[in-house]
Structure formats: C-alpha cells, structure tokens
Symmetry: C2
Subunit: 220 residues, 2 copies
C-alpha cells in the first residue's frame, strides 16, 4: 500500500504540473474513461469532426498495443497521437506529458485524452484534466456503475453510449441512469449514439460551454 500511495502521489505532482501547463495555454482537457469496447474512439471521431469548425481540437489515446485509435482519430484532420502502454492498464500523467511534449499548446483549445479501456485502474490517476467523463455502453449491461463504483465516483459526467443498440441488447437505459445516480448522485448523464448521432450535438455544445467558461475564468 505504501508503494501504491507513493506512485499515486508522484502522479499527482506530475498531473498538477500538467494542469498548470494546460491553464497557461488555455487548453480545456477531457479524460475519457470506460471499459473496452464502449465506443470511446467512435464517439470521439464524431465529436472532433463536429468541434473542428469551432475549436482547435487534438487527442492522445492510450492502448497496450496497436496504433489503430490514433489513426482513426486523425481522420478528423486534427492532431492525434497514440500512447502505447505495453502491459500498463491505464494512462499516467508522465505518459501524457511525454506524448504532447513537442506540441505547441497555443495551437490547441480542447485536448481529449482517451484512456486505456479499463473500468478500474484509471481511477486514481489524475491526468491534469478539467473533466473526467465515464462512458458506459448499453451493450455492457445496466449494473456496471454499481460493480465499478470507484471509477464512476471519480467521473464528473457520464455518457451512455451505443443508445441505438439499447433495444437490441435489451438494456434498460433508465435503470442504467438510476445506477449512475445511486453511485454518484447529481452526475449529469448524456445519452448518445455515435452511429445515429443521438446526443452528439448536446455533448459538443457542453464541451464548447465548458471551454468558454474555463477561458473566461483564466482571462479574469
């Protein structure tokens, strides 16, 4: 436990430095967390395309192996970089810092960090983000927030993804929402489908508002 605490405390220091750096350059940062296959990359592709006419967006994406996600995200035309974690089950602040080390952050307004697909381990690792967003897909079952409460509790927003499949997989979306509310009361929840477009406008608008709020606060 002492080792774990030391690792987390070291990460917290690095995350604080990252957060300062993001604030200096006016970058709004979103950390997307979820289990494997919840549709983070597909939603992010659509989100980045829709945001690009309004804001300069970029992404870093973590995976044990394959560069597939960065390649998919780069299709939006925005900068996207893959972080290969090897056997590591989550992203840490130093990996994010290294990935963006040579980027000119004055050219970035919104940075998305797509975490490794894992509903447990990203919990304790602050990446300097402004907003941590939990994705739960309708295909995963309604009980996931209850079974993985630590990550749910550490997220300030929840997105229910793949809502177009809810009927096919017999997911009770309202029960899923109630389970999020039970674990973390007051958490805003968006229902989305990257395929049908449901909820994407609302999600894009939310990011634009949060970016504007951060910029106004930093300028003031």
């Amino acid at each position: 436990m002492d080792v774990e605490r030391r690792i987390l405390s070291h990460n917290d220091d690095l995350a604080a430095a990252l957060r300062d750096r993001f604030a200096r350059h006016g970058v709004f940062v979103v950390n997307l967390v979820s289990g494997p296959g919840s549709g983070k990359t597909e939603l992010l592709q659509r989100t980045m395309s829709d945001l690009r006419p309004h804001l300069r967006v970029a992404a870093v994406t973590g995976d044990l192996a394959t560069e597939n996600d960065a390649a998919r995200l780069a299709e939006s035309g925005a900068p996207a970089r893959q972080i290969l974690t090897g056997t590591m089950c989550h992203l840490e602040a130093d990996m994010v810092a290294a990935a963006i080390d040579d980027w000119d952050l004055d050219e970035v307004e919104v940075l998305f960090i797509e975490n490794v697909g894992n509903l447990v381990c990203p919990t304790g690792f602050d990446l300097g983000e402004d907003l941590r967003v939990l994705l739960v897909a309708t295909t995963e079952g309604e009980d996931k927030p209850l079974k993985y409460p630590t990550l749910t509790m550490s997220s300030q927003l929840a997105i229910i993804s793949k809502c177009d499949l809810a009927d096919a997989v017999e997911c009770d979306v309202e029960l899923l929402e109630r389970n999020i509310e039970e674990v973390r009361p007051g958490t805003p929840v968006l229902r989305t489908s990257a395929r049908s477009g449901e909820g994407v406008d609302e999600w894009v608008e939310l990011i634009r508002e949060r970016f504007a709020t951060k910029t106004a606060a930093t300028a003031g």
Copy 2:
C-alpha cells in the same frame, strides 16, 4: 518493476499450492477472464445448470462491489461465493484460497473462477487453474484481441459470447476469430450465446472431457 515481480512471484507460489490442492481432490478449475459486460455470469449460469446433472460444480466470482454475481450463480443450486475485491482490479491466488478455505473440495469436481471484468490486469495472476478462458463479446468489437494481447496470449481457449447479437451490432465474427488466431495461433475458439444456447453444449462437453482427462491423469 521489482515490486511487481515480487508480487507476481509470491502469487505464483500460492497458485502452485492451490494447484496441488485442486489436484489432490480431483478438482478441474476454469478461470474465466474478460472485459466488463462480456456476459461471463450469464454464460456461467447456463453452463453450471447444464453441467449439474453430470458433475458437481461450484463457483467463486470476483467483483469490486456487489454480491449480485454470486447470487445469480447460486440460482443454479450449486455453491457460489462472492469475492469482494474493493479497489483491486483482478483476483489473486490468496483471495481464491481464502474464499474456498472452508469448502470440502472432495464435494467439488469442477470449480469456475469468474475473474474481475478487466482485459489487462488478470494476465499475470495464476489462480491455480487448469484452463484459462478468454471471453470476448461480439458487442465489444473485433479488435479487442489485438488491443489487449497480453491477456489473449495467456488464455488457452477463447469464447466469443453474445453471438446472437452479432448482426445487430455489425460484428464480423470471422474477423474476430482471425484476430484471436493472430495473437495466439492455434487457440481453440467457441462461438456461444447464453441467450440462444448456441455453442453451450459444445462448451459443456469440452469441460466434461477436460475433467475426465485430468481425473484419468491424476489416477494414473
């Protein structure tokens, strides 16, 4: 890394002791690993019900929180015990040993261990099992074996679950099979659906054969 190696080595010692104990009592042990929401519990419910007329089965199931899975598995009438891991992202050999400490293993012929839903962290943790089975659901996408190669490589059998949903979620099951083959050539793959029953007989038959083989080897 030294700490990690020491933890794994300690676990290996405990797993070896568990494996000896299982062998002495003629228990065949299956460790089921997968991401969250792949349908481990639902498949296991059906598997245990179908096996019960032939073999004495039992299960231990790991989760951070909630006793739901053990309750669902106990519906089959077989002994089932929940291991609550708290913030821990995988099962370790000592947790399994503690969970079955008061069980008379002469009353058990097949023990299922349902791991925490996590496609990374269970990799290095031997639980004394005879067979490690990776579940990947059609709803997770075809790329999961490539993106989570360490757990795929450590499993001796793969089950593609939720095959009844393949069309609805546009999963190319053959591509998913090829991706498993690419990461771990020669891995046997079963296509299943706990809902429709597809592949369940084959899976149940496979366990009966493996149990018989182990019993014959131990007796010989």
